[in-house]
């Protein structure tokens, strides 16, 4: 997994609560058997005025000039500012894949859906939870300042604003460790292979019915 250490970038405000995973990446793009290339279809139904198709050329599609992602002042943004319950809906990891592939490295929101939140960490994308008041304040600041940038430092758990003031944030210690070092979860778990074998052996003895096979 790619490491996350620091990120400084333009902030894109998505002023909408309950942004679901269909909003982030519509289902037709889930037909891909790859895990890359979703960035061009991030927020597809809002970003373009027509219906997107998988494996199609997106360069000639009519774009929705009103949608925030298409506004020149947010070009090249890498930090997404969002509202409550971001990423609700399906378990599709295509949602963080699309955000990552577009170029987002971090999301700031008052709350997230559990599965989406978890999926972000598996892909080097940092979802940060901040108080609602702080998020709303950031929306105001971004709105009033073209090219508004934030700087995120994971090690010190600090976000620095353009005026130099800082906002602290919480992050799970284990997830922080994995992000900072780009650690692969599977490799880590397999370090405990012996414990898994022992558990399994015992479980098979005490609850053999979970190991029975189909009779037809």
């Amino acid at each position: 997994m790619r490491k996350f250490i620091t990120e400084k970038g333009v902030v894109l405000p998505l002023d909408r609560a309950n942004v679901d995973t269909d909003f982030i990446i519509p289902k037709q793009f889930l037909k891909s058997i790859k895990r890359s290339g979703f960035g061009v279809n991030l927020f597809d139904e809002h970003r373009y005025l027509d219906k997107g198709q998988p494996d199609a050329d997106n360069s000639g599609r009519p774009i929705n000039p009103d949608f925030v992602l298409n506004q020149p002042r947010y070009a090249g943004s890498s930090i997404l500012l969002a509202k409550d319950n971001f990423g609700c809906g399906s378990s599709r990891e295509h949602a963080p894949w699309a955000l990552d592939d577009y170029g987002f490295r971090a999301v700031l929101a008052p709350s997230y859906a559990d599965i989406f939140f978890n999926n972000c960490f598996k892909n080097g994308l940092l979802p940060i939870v901040l108080d609602r008041d702080i998020i709303f304040q950031l929306f105001d600041e971004v709105e009033n300042c073209a090219g508004y940038q934030l700087s995120i430092d994971l090690a010190s758990q600090k976000i620095t604003k353009p005026d130099g003031s800082a906002i602290g944030f919480e992050v799970d210690e284990f997830r922080k460790h994995c992000l900072l070092n780009g650690l692969d979860d599977i490799g880590l778990t397999l370090e405990d292979a012996e414990a898994i074998h022992q558990f399994e052996e015992n479980w098979r003895k005490t609850s053999p019915w979970y190991f029975s096979q189909a009779t037809t």
Partner: protein, 473 residues
Amino acid sequence: MTAKTLYDKIWEAHLVKQRGDGTALIYIDRHLIHEVTSPQAFEGLRLAGRKPWRADANFATPDHNIPTTSEERNQGLEGIKDPVSKIQVTTLGDNCKEFDIFELDMNDARQGIVHVVGPEQGATLPGMTIVCGDSHTSTHGALGALAHGIGTSEVEHVLATQCLMQKKMKNMQVRVDGQLKTGVTAKDVVLAIIGKIGTAGGTGYTIEFAGEVIRSLSIEGRMTVCNMAIEAGARAGLIAVDEATIEYIKGRPFAPSGELFVRAAVSWRSLISDVDATFDQMVVLDGAEIEPQVTWGTSPEMVASINGLIPDPSKEPDETRRGNIEQALYYMGLTGGTAIQAIQLDCVFIGSCTNSRIEDLREAASIVAGKQVAKTVELAMVVPGSGLVKQQAEDEGLDKIFIKAGLEWREPGCSMCLAMNADQLGEGKHCASTSNRNFEGRQGFGGRTHLVSPAMAAAAAIHGHFVDVRELV
């Protein structure tokens, strides 16, 4: 000894290793697989030179991309016209063969929606930990299993290690007391719960559904309730084991049999929360107060009773909520303050992992029997959840009732719940749907979804707009 919730019990029984930082390694008994969220996980295994830790813990069936007309289905894989969908279904088959994983392929008579097929085959057992790369895995909690959706990285993780790294959730109990009125179903109960606690109300929790109403639901009804726990923000929903659970499991192909079943049943009967167990949060509803529910917006929490009104945003004092309502009504093409019953429908979809089981189909058939779909309804379709549900329905003559009334009788799959196959809701069209999500574009680009029970969807098909099904039964 400290009193424990059902969730505490299953969690502790599967704890392989507790880390100091609060994360834990949890053993997974059953991994369900479908074609959409698994290809990248299998590819990851291959690239790392890994094999499944325990191939026989996995169970696969394709469902999302599967065509549902019999004409297409009779052609087998060739019937999948979209080449990208076809590759995904073929890839699942290839991966299952390569890694020796049990698969009910698209031509198997037992194929269907993974959350219908799992319990039906007895692959879902009480007390198991069950995961699947699909958020509606919460369905399996109806049988007292700890079940939740995972992303593709975790699909690969479970394949490779038979474990997940997790933090324990908090405990929430949602109790529905009393009795439901005639015509009010499990779907109405869960929509009412979501309406009360909101789509993020269960975030961070495992919800145990309890109370007299839940106890008196059939296993199918309990699956409908647990299925939508995720729409309340909870990854997992749970219902305590009782005799109905054990009776349901008995004799199913993957379930233990003979003496092993008897021993298992003894163990399963302890899968209940201790009477003095404490929950971090409790929510109580009165079953008698629940009316048939209809969603009017673009989130499952945007729900009202059949005799209610679409909310008027100008009367909403909270600015954020007002904005959400306005956004939703704009997308839905509806006006605040108008009656739910006045919503005109273009399409009716009866199916999905929420409501495509035999009981759901019986409920819908009883409403449409001897009647005709309204002329203004362009498409009304019934998509059974599995090949076996379809067979059972046909044995009972339900297919004939639907066809005679003017509904299409389809082959099993996820179909128009998320429209990954050819079954897509047209732009601007209103659909009465027994599925689980009314998000923008969910059933098709620009489509407008109203979530309801099978009985309500059937009644809407006949009348062309929503009606109170209680006046028909």
